[in-house]
Amino acid sequence: MKSTITLVLLVITSVMMRAQQSCETAVQAYSGLNNGIEMVAMNGPAPTNCMFLNGDEHFTWYYFIAPEDTGYVITSDLEMNVGLDTRIGVYSGECGSLTCVGFDDDSGAGYLSTVTITAEAGEVYFIVFDDYWGGAAVATPLMFDISEVEPQAPVGNVITFVTTPITGLTGSECIVDMNGDFLDDVVSTSGDQLTIFYQQEDGTFLNQTYNAGPVMNTPSWSIAAGDLDNNGYNDLLYGGGGGASFIWANEDGTGYHETHDDNYIFSQRTNMVDINNDGLLDGFVCHDIDANVFYINNGDGTMTHNQGGLGEWGGNYGSVWIDYDNDCDMDMFIAKCGSDNIDQLHRNNGDGTFTSVGAEAGIADPTQSWSSAWADYDNDGDMDVFIGASSMGSGGHKLYENNGDGTFTNITEGSGFDAQDGVNIENMPGDFNNDGWVDVLGAGSMFMINNGDMTFSPSICPFYLGPCGDLNNDGYLDFISGSTAYINNLEGNNYITINTVGTESNKNGIGARITVTSALGNQIRDVRSAEAFSPMQSLNAHFGLGTDTEIEVIRVCWPSGIEDVIYNPEINTALTIVEGSSPSKVEESAKTGFVVYPNPANDHIRIDSELGLNNSDVVIYDMTGKLVQSGKLNLLTYDVSELSRGMYVVAIQKNGETFRTTFSKQ
C-alpha cells in the first residue's frame, strides 16, 4: 500500500444509489473512506483525455466538493481491495466539458490506483472508476479513500482531446490525404485489404475498401505514403518483417495493386523521398539486421532494389529524412539501437551521393533509440533533434541544438527531457497547441510542450502515439490511437496549413523546405514521409501561429531548386502552393526571362522573350498542380481556349531548362 496521509476517517458514507452511470447521475463522495457500490456492467458516456479507451469500459461516477485549497489523494489502494483491479480518472469542469486533472491505473499495490490532485475550495471534482481492466466487473463494493495532502505542482494536461468515433474504423497506422483533396484521410490495412476513410468537408468520414492483393508484405513494422507515379493519388510503402511491398493507386484512386520483389528485409522505419532528385519519389527501408535498402523509382511502375551506402549492417531502426544543413536537399538521420546503437547522419551531397557525418556533426549518439523528432525547436532557422530513449541502458533522452554550421550541441541538461524517465519507441515533433513553437510527443509517450526557450514541460498524453494529422480540418493536430480518433479540442491560436504541389519536383513536394515568417519569427518545416517509428503522418505542413494575425511571407525551396515566395497569405486556412507558381524575384529575373500576354488571356497566350523559345514544349498546370494541357509553342503563340477560368502555371521547356510563370484565363 502506498503511504498516504489519511486525514479524515470520520465520515463514512454508505452509497446506495445504483444510478451513478454518468456524469449527470454522479454520487457525492466525501473526505475519508467512501463505501462504494458494486460496479455494474454499463456503457455510459466515456470520459476523455484521462484514460486509454477501447470502448468496453464500465464507469462509475462520483463527485467531490473540495473543502479546502489543498491537495487530495484519491485512492483505491486499501487493504480491503487487495486483488482488485481499478483505474481512476479525476475531472474538473461541468458534465459535457470535463477537463482531466488526474489519472492512475496501477500505481497502488497490485492493480490498485492512487491519484493526487491539486484542488480549489468549493470546486467540484468528478471521480470516475473504471472496472474494465480486471476483465470483469469488480464484484465487491469498491471502497476508496479521499485524504488531504500538501498540494503538489500538477503535471499539466495542456493538450486536450475529445474522442470521436469513426464508424467502421478498427485501427490505423496511417493518416494522409488519399484522394487529392488535401483533407487528411485515415488508412486502415488488413492483409490484402485497404480501407480508406475519406474525410468529408463536414468532418465526417466515408469509407471504401479496396483489395490490393495479393499483398506479400503487410505493414507490420511501418507504413509510409507518397505519390510514386505523380498521378495525384498517394501510394503506400509497407515495411514487413520479411520484405517491403508497394501499394499503387490507379489513375483515379479507385483501385490499388501491389508490387514487391523477393529480397529479404527485416523492415523497420520506411520513408518515401526522392533520393536521386529526378522528380520521382523513391522508397527507403531501414533494415534491422543488414544494410539499409532503398528502391529507386523507374517511373514505369517498377522499383529497383538497392542495398548499401545509406547505413550499413545492423541496428537500423528509425530513419527520418530532414534537411539539417539548409541546402534544400534531404539528408537522413537514423536513430539506432541494438547491434550497432550509434546514431548516423547521412549528408546529401546534392549529386546523388551521401556522406556519413554523424561523428563530425556531434550526433553519433549511443542512446538506444528507435526514433527521433526533428524540428526547429528554437525557431532560429535550422533543424534541432530530440532523440528518444527506448531503453536507458546506453544513455537517456537527448536534445541536440543545431549550431548552424553542420554541428550540434547536446543541451539535454535542464531541458525537461532529462527529467523524463519513461521510455518508448515512438517520438515525433508537432506544434500541438499551435503556439508557434514545435512540441514533442515522445520521451515515454508524453506531450513535451515547448516553452520557447529550449525547455519543455510534460503534459499527459491520453493515448499511445498513433498516426497524426488534421482529422477535422481545424488547423490543430489530431491522432488515431487503436480504433479511436482523438480530436484536439484546443482553439484560439492562429495557424496555416500548407499543401505543397510539386511540378518539376515530386508531386507531394516531399523534401520541400517551407519557411513561414510572422511576428514571432521564422518557422521552418520539411515536408516528410514519414516520422516516428511505425506510423505515417499527414503530408500537409502544419504551422501554429500563436496570436500572430498575419504572415509576412512564406518561402518554399523545392527539391528542384525552384523557390516560391508568397506574401501576406490568408491565415487560419489551408494554402496550396504549386511549385513555380510564385517565383521569387531572383528566379523571375534570372530564369523566367519571359512575359505572357495578354494576361488575363482569352483564347491564346503569346510569349515575349529573347530566349528563342519558339517550338518549345509547353506544359500548363492548374493551381493544384494537375497537368491540364501540353503542346508546342507555335510562332510564340499557344492556344488556351479549352481552359476554364482561373489561374494557371505555364512551363516552357527548352534544352532541358524550364521557364515558368503564371497567367490568368478569363
Partner: protein, 372 residues
C-alpha cells in the same frame, strides 16, 4: 557437373599424373603407364576448407546410402539438446563431425564448447506426414563450419524429389501442409532463413557462434545406434571432447517432463528459445531480460514484475505479471503470430501451443500481484 566437383576431379587427375610422373622419373626411359592406376575411393566425410561451401549437400558425404534417409557416415555423430528450439513444429536431426585428431574443450556448463577448426554442426529440418502424399519431406540442412577460428554458415535446400539439396543463403518460403503428432492437419509457410537471419540469432558480440552445443543441454542420454549413452560421455569416447569435464554439470531440464517443477521446465524452455538474443551479448542485449538458464534463477531476469520498455497495449503492465497472464507481455508475445509482436523474432510463424501452456502454468504458479 558443378564447378567444384569438376575442380576436384581435375585435382584428382593432377595427383594421379603427378604420381605417374614421379614414377616415370624413377623408372628412367620407360613409357608412361597407360593403364588406370588403382584408386581407392575415399568414402568418408569430405570437408575441404578451401572449397567451403560446396554447391551440393551430397558433396560433403555426411550421409551414406540414400541421402534422404539421413544415415550418418562414419564419424558423423548424432546429438540432441534435451530441450530443443521450437521451429514451427518442424522435426530436426542434428549431427556433429570433426576432423581426425582434434577435439572440443569444456568452457563452462552454459557456454558453447571451444570447438577446433574443421568442426561441422549439421541440422536437418523436416516434417513427417506431409500432404497430400503423407510422406516425410526434408526442407533444409543447415551447416555451421569452423574455419580459421570463425564460424561460417551454409544452408542447403532440398529438392522436392528429396534426392539432393542445394546451397543458398538467400532465404525462402516453403508452404507445407502436414498432419501433426496429435493427428491434426496443419499449414505452415515454412521460413528458410537468409544469412542475415542466421546471424541475428547465431551471434555473440556480433561474432557468429553455434547456440545449442553446451554441456548443460547435452548432459543427457541419447539412443545411439550402439546403445543409449550420455552424450557428453559419448563425445569423449569418440574423441570429440577432451576428458576434462567437472564432477557435476548444472543442466537444463527436459521441458516436457511433467515430473519436474514448472519453474525448471519453463526456464529450460526459455533458455532454448529465447536466450540467444536475450543475453549480455545477444541481439536484444539492451532489454532487461536475461533468459539463459544460468541467469533465470533470479526472477527479475525472467521479467517477473518488470515493466516493459515497449508499449503493446495498456493492459500489459509487466513482462511477467505474477499470477496474471493477461497482464504479461511474455505471454502475449508467445501467444501471437503478429510479426511486430511475436517472439522469438525468427524461426516461428505458428504459436507453440504447448510452450504457451507451460508459460501459463508458470505464471499461475506465482503468487498474484507485483509490488510497485
Amino acid at each position: 557437373m558443378t564447378t567444384s566437383a569438376l575442380t576436384r576431379v581435375l585435382l584428382l587427375l593432377a595427383t594421379v599424373i603427378g604420381v605417374s610422373v614421379f614414377v616415370s622419373c624413377k623408372k628412367d626411359e620407360e613409357p608412361v603407364e597407360e593403364k588406370d592406376p588403382p584408386i581407392v575411393e575415399y568414402t568418408g566425410v569430405n570437408v575441404v576448407a578451401s572449397e567451403f561451401p560446396f554447391e551440393k549437400l551430397s558433396d560433403y558425404r555426411f550421409y551414406t546410402g540414400e541421402m534422404k534417409q539421413l544415415i550418418p557416415n562414419e564419424r558423423v555423430l548424432p546429438y540432441q539438446p534435451v530441450t530443443p528450439l521450437f521451429s514451427d513444429y518442424a522435426h530436426k536431426s542434428r549431427f556433429v563431425w570433426m576432423p581426425e585428431g582434434v577435439s572440443a574443450s569444456y568452457q563452462s556448463d552454459h557456454t558453447v564448447f571451444d570447438f577446433p577448426d574443421g568442426t561441422v554442426l549439421i541440422k536437418n529440418f523436416f516434417y513427417d506426414h506431409v500432404q497430400p502424399d503423407d510422406v516425410r519431406r526434408i526442407l533444409e540442412t543447415r551447416i555451421i563450419y569452423k574455419k580459421n577460428g570463425e564460424w561460417l554458415f551454409a544452408d542447403y535446400l532440398w529438392n522436392p524429389e528429396q534426392t539432393e539439396a542445394y546451397y543458398s543463403l538467400n532465404g525462402a518460403y516453403v508452404p507445407i501442409t502436414w498432419i501433426d503428432d496429435n493427428g491434426n492437419t496443419r499449414d505452415v509457410n515454412f521460413r528458410i532463413p537468409a544469412e542475415a537471419e542466421c546471424h541475428t540469432c547465431h551471434k555473440a558480440n556480433q561474432v557468429n557462434s553455434p547456440t545449442g552445443v553446451k554441456p548443460q543441454n547435452l548432459n543427457f542420454d541419447y539412443p545411439f545406434s550402439d546403445g543409449s549413452m550420455n552424450q557428453l560421455q559419448k563425445w569423449i569416447e569418440v574423441g570429440y571432447l577432451e576428458n576434462s569435464l567437472p564432477e557435476s554439470i548444472v543442466s537444463v531440464a527436459d521441458w516436457t517432463d511433467e515430473s519436474l517443477s514448472v519453474d525448471l521446465r519453463l526456464r529450460s524452455y526459455l533458455d532454448a528459445n529465447c536466450s540467444h538474443c536475450h543475453s549480455d551479448d545477444g541481439h536484444c542485449y539492451y532489454r532487461p531480460l536475461r533468459l539463459g538458464f544460468s541467469q533465470t534463477a533470479d526472477e527479475s531476469n525472467l521479467g517477473v514484475c518488470i515493466a516493459p520498455q515497449e508499449y503493446i497495449n495498456e493492459t500489459l503492465t509487466h513482462v511477467i505479471s505474477r499470477g496474471n497472464k493477461d497482464r504479461s507481455v511474455m505471454y502475449y508475445r508467445l501467444n501471437t503470430t503478429d510479426q511486430q509482436y511475436r517472439m522469438p523474432l525468427f524461426g516461428r510463424s505458428l504459436i507453440h501451443d504447448e510452450g504457451v501452456q507451460l508459460l501459463e502454468e508458470y505464471i499461475n504458479s506465482l503468487s498474484p500481484g507485483c509490488p510497485n
